[in-house]
């Protein structure tokens, strides 16, 4: 087997050195009746070429060649080949968590840079590296708020990603947390009046997402004001990090839970992505996840180490701030490289292209009779549209034109029948947007003819 570096003779030499008659001797503690007598029924062994062929065949059974307008927490952005080249260097790819600082300075310094970049992006003072994804980061942020406030009620905007809310509910079921939802108003953002009537001094945290699941940008300073008055903490989830290139960062939030997939990570059918928690320095001891700190060595040279580890499970066990151990370190490195490449100008231009293309797409689509945007709040690169027909029906026709259309919202929000969520990024060409508009116009017209 090509991954195994031993000849039969070497195996025999080693067995002899051990004093074993055969390899089976080394497994003698496993009761005989539990030892497999027949080989496992697994496909393979495959050569490298056969592995590539198997996955290439599977790839062809997917959506290659389609134009997609899906976002909803997973975004299709351009990525430089530099990012993938760097993260495939064996020294990054095949190293472990940097516990041995003297021979892990590469990973440690990169994480320190990542923490800095994320603080700059979110307007917060400290960022960890990392959580599993945006959904678990949001849940961990809530658990952190519970520890900080010693309160148990959590108010979550219905405009927060439905799957993020699902994950929070799963974790809450086995805790004493009480989850309540806050409705969204006519403009698509959290209804301030509802929030004001629901919030009391037993609320640990208010959770908002911005831009929210429906695409609308939440009024973070206003939410912060209402949330802070009874001493609750504001948690802001960010699923589309590119928005921070133009949209005011959630600096008024107490905890930011960010999904970093937009920073150099492919959609990859849902993972691996990159969760981050950013917060204020005074909350750092209640923060979950790994942190790298700057220090000096015995000769006074700058160096980096994992720090504040006494929060973590390998030291505090059942009293740890989280059970997280393996995280998304290589994804954090990808984000660090990607953001370094983008730089200050690149990030702003990237955000501007997303904003411009989404505005262009909305204008094109709302020219079609019966198509409108129901919510008035500003948006970044995603927006909700209302169609005169069920979105699923329209999508079936769009698929015939090679287009993956809007995400149907009715299964997630029963009151949003015939509503769909569309996303347009810098990777979407004008031609694709125009093709969508043409196809949508035709799909809707066809029905009128049928009717």
């Amino acid at each position: 087997m090509r991954y195994l570096p031993k000849s039969p003779a070497e195996r025999d030499q080693m067995l002899e050195a051990i004093g074993a008659q055969s390899i089976d001797d080394l497994f003698s503690r496993i009761p005989e009746r539990y030892r497999l007598q027949a080989p496992l029924k697994l496909p393979g062994p495959y050569s490298e070429a056969e592995i590539v062929r198997y996955f290439s065949e599977r790839a062809r059974e997917n959506s290659v060649g389609y134009s997609s307008f899906l976002g909803a927490g997973v975004y299709n952005h351009l990525r430089s080949v530099v990012t993938d080249t760097i993260i495939q260097r064996g020294e990054f790819l095949t190293s472990y968590t940097p516990y041995q600082a003297e021979i892990s300075q590469g990973t440690l310094q990169a994480i320190f840079e990542f923490q800095t970049l994320l603080c700059q992006l979110t307007g917060q003072e400290v960022a960890n590296a990392s959580m599993w994804d945006g959904s678990t980061a949001t849940t961990e942020a809530v658990l952190m708020a519970e520890r900080l406030t010693r309160r148990r009620r959590i108010l979550v905007g219905r405009s927060v990603h439905p799957q993020y809310r699902d994950v929070l509910r799963t974790y809450a079921k086995s805790s004493t947390l009480e989850i309540e939802e806050i409705p969204f108003g006519a403009d698509g953002t959290i209804n301030q009046g509802s929030l004001e009537s629901q919030i009391r001094d037993d609320v640990a945290a208010v959770v908002a997402q911005s831009p929210n699941f429906l695409g609308a940008i939440e009024d973070i300073p206003a939410l912060a004001k209402t949330t802070h008055s009874p001493g609750a903490l504001l948690i802001v989830a960010v699923t589309e990090g590119v928005s921070l290139g133009l949209v005011r960062p959630p600096a008024d939030a107490d905890i930011v839970a960010l999904e970093g997939q937009s920073f150099g990570l492919p959609p990859s059918y849902g993972g691996p992505f990159l969760g981050v928690i950013a917060t204020r320095e005074k909350f750092v001891r209640q923060m979950p996840g790994r942190l790298v700190g700057q220090t000096v060595d015995t000769d006074g040279r700058r160096g980096f180490v994992l720090t504040l580890a006494a929060r973590e499970q390998h030291i505090r066990r059942e009293k740890a701030t989280s059970n997280i151990c393996t995280n998304q370190a290589l994804c954090a490195l990808a984000a660090t490289v990607h953001l370094s490449l983008l730089g200050k100008q690149g990030l702003r231009e990237l955000a501007h292209q997303n904003l411009s293309k989404a505005q262009f797409a909305l204008a094109k689509l709302t020219e079609i009779p019966g198509v409108r945007r129901p919510f008035g709040a500003p948006f970044f690169n995603e927006f909700t549209v209302a169609l005169p027909r069920p979105v699923e029906d329209v999508n079936r026709q769009l698929l015939g034109e090679g287009i993956i259309g809007a995400l149907p919202l009715e299964p997630l929000y029963p009151e949003l029948a015939n509503h769909g969520l569309l996303c347009v990024t810098e990777a979407t060409s004008r031609g694709e947007i125009e093709k969508l508009a043409t196809a949508l116009r035709a799909a809707l017209a066809a029905v009128q003819v049928e009717a």
Binding site: R285, A309, A310, R311, I315, R316, K319
Partner: protein, 134 residues
């Protein structure tokens, strides 16, 4: 380091000195030696109630986190706020400057359950001390 004769000691390595119903609580020299360089200490707030034998806070070194147990029950009247910025005081002067909290004792009789200095010294230097170290 000598263990002050007028202090009383717990099996979990806290000390308490009581004057006029007011107790000062700290960690023993043995405890700080076992923990190594202390990097952080979390203390209750003034006005919090302590219950004998229950955790009153935590102390962290680089590679460990341990609970601090209340030697007696009572109300916290003062905390050593200097430890927030300088937890190393616990290493440097555990029986003095490195004190943790002051409490108004609820039940002074609880003092009778604690060890005096000679008993504690035997406890930490005698056989079986490895097992009792936290």
């Amino acid at each position: 380091m000598a263990y002050p004769w007028n202090y009383r000691y717990t099996k979990d390595h806290e000390w308490i000195e009581v004057e006029d119903g007011l107790g000062t609580i700290g960690l023993t020299d043995y405890a700080q030696g076992q923990l190594g360089d202390i990097v952080f200490v979390e203390l209750p707030k003034s006005g919090d109630w302590l219950e004998a034998g229950k955790p009153l806070g935590t102390v962290e070194s680089v590679k460990a986190a341990n609970e601090i147990y209340a030697p007696v029950s009572g109300e916290v009247v003062e905390i050593n706020s200097a430890l927030q910025d300088a937890p190393e005081k616990i290493n440097a002067d555990p029986h003095g400057d490195g004190w943790l909290v002051k409490v108004r004792l609820k039940n002074p009789a609880e003092m009778n359950d604690l060890m005096d200095a000679p008993a504690y010294e035997t406890y930490v230097t005698g056989p079986g001390r490895e097992e009792s170290a936290r």
